[in-house]
Symmetry: C2
Subunit: 329 residues, 2 copies
């Protein structure tokens, strides 16, 4: 295992310390319990609180800031954060309008966020993200997994919350976005959790895992390596079969690297994706290409499509200022 | 070789097509010869034209846009672009104030940019970047290599050019920034050039290459894997010995991933870096963490320090709107 690391037990602490120091203009790192919160809070705004296992950076801490999250709770690598982190984060960023917990569907995350939701004294609601169309039920999930669609939910609902929408409106918007968002990924390589020190799974030199989860969970099938066009077609076929975008739909396309795949390949995958969509008369209205929901150093990528309406488009375009997503300000 | 690729010969073409489609609001892709240019040019502004082998994305194409480059000429992977690309790009973005070629010091790049400079009918000048302190003369270089410091030169000179500075002022500023910028990198893994199909170099499971170049060139030494603090200390010792920042110096720190290293590790490396600098009384004024000058999927990172003055600070902070660096607008 070759990583930038000093001691395995200190990996998360030191990484978060570096993150908080690099972005001290935007975020504050809380210790005991650990969470990252916005430096400047907006009175009367619904607070968006997310979190999950670490190893998916920039998700979620990199999206704390104006127009997205108010706080993020990082668990250990690939391990859910605890309810006390979530409750403390919610309390720290509360400015009177309640908390919206934004949760990717993984059993541990869901259980802990539900516990935090029940125990919190603040009004709260939850948006559960389950955009991964690869499999129903998985190693760590009942139902579908929540993956890179989280970035879209956090951006859009984060923008709505800035306008003064109430908790009910934010939750309804989040649920609507989730319903119109679908993803599927492919892994070329495995990854190593620091505390484990060995590869999460094995994969042959000529194999790929189609439908992989963001912790290396098995997908739909292990198959032979294929051309980018063929991989894109397989992922998009599954996504479009799920989303069923109507004629004239406008799509947000997110090409998401899993950590070890360089940007040049992600753009090539976008090129395959746009050809495939174009041939089916599906219009691309917005594009985001980058490694935003990762699995440590895993090579591979996921494709996410989100069927946009005008309100969603407006909230995608609105200003955002976080460590890893920034425009308009 | 597992990459998002269809045919080896089409890798660059398809990747650039995806890039240009994803960022059609900002850039235009020219074919025959290939270059990427700003969609909207500013009359009377010095045009910044850079380029180099592909495989280092987002460098340079990802930095075409307001506040940075006017055009970028991508060569094949790890191969210099040709003088005709450079001359055509310069001509395409000329708005009457001349061309500043921004060149990383590699023999092929330098030779071709010098040829373009001589053959171009437009007034032009060149800034040669040689920030890599690892080695004098290398596989592909006479003198020191130009690496991630290019991002800083392009951002700062790009900002100055927007203010209406003339060619001479832009060149002088670029030379001054280069003089105050130093970098060194470390590789944990090799990388595979698509056309070669095999690893550029071999490295053992417990080895690292200290001082590696961005094409996998040998560095100062091949040694056993070490803790992040020790790696940071070795890189920073070499960098600071070269830069000799005075008392009270304010530094821009760029922690640059080489392509296959996840963001969480880069923040940890920044944490090691800031501790080391703090212990020596060196102040960090600005920070940038990300994979901005890569070597395909190589795991590893480089550290760049730039000694800032007030003018440089102002130009770092100024608005920028490119595919891969954006703030203030």
């Amino acid at each position: 295992m070759k990583k930038f690391i000093n001691h395995v037990d200190d990996f998360l602490t030191e990484s978060l310390a570096g993150f908080a120091a690099a972005h001290g203009d935007l975020v504050v790192l809380n210790h005991e319990p650990v969470f990252v919160r916005r430096k400047t809070l907006k009175p009367g705004k619904v607070a968006l609180v997310s979190g999950g296992g670490s190893g998916h950076e920039p998700l979620h801490s990199g999206f704390v800031g104006y127009g997205m999250l108010d706080a993020a709770c990082p668990g250990q690598v690939f391990t859910s954060p605890t309810p006390d982190q979530m409750m403390a984060a919610a309390k720290a960023v509360d400015t009177g309008a309640g908390t919206l917990f934004v949760v990717k569907n993984y059993s541990g995350d869901l259980m802990n966020f539900e516990m935090a939701s029940e125990m919190s004294e603040l009004p709260n609601a939850m948006v559960l993200i389950n955009d991964d169309v690869a499999v129903e039920n998985s190693s760590y999930t009942t139902g579908r997994r929540g993956v890179a669609g989280a970035v879209i939910v956090e951006k859009l609902v984060g923008s709505l919350a800035e306008t003064g929408a109430d908790l009910e409106q934010c939750k309804a918007f989040g649920d609507r976005i989730n319903k119109h968002t679908a993803s599927m990924g492919v892994a070329f390589s495995s990854c190593t959790v620091p505390a484990a020190g060995t590869l999460t799974f094995k994969i042959g030199d000529d194999e790929i895992e189609v439908g992989v989860g963001i912790h290396g969970e098995p997908g739909r099938r292990r198959t032979r390596f294929a051309a980018a066009d063929a991989i894109a077609a397989e992922l998009l076929t599954a996504i479009v079969a799920d989303l069923k975008p109507g004629n004239g739909s406008e799509l947000l396309v997110l090409i998401n690297g899993l950590g070890g795949t360089p940007l040049g390949e992600l753009y090539l995958l976008f090129n395959s994706t746009r050809s495939w969509l174009h041939q089916r008369g599906l219009a691309i209205a917005r594009v985001q290409v980058g490694s935003l929901t990762t699995s440590l150093e895993m090579a591979g990528a996921s494709i996410t499509l989100c069927v946009l309406d005008d309100e969603m488009k407006r909230h995608w375009d609105s200003p955002v200022h976080t460590p890893s997503l920034r425009w308009g300000m």
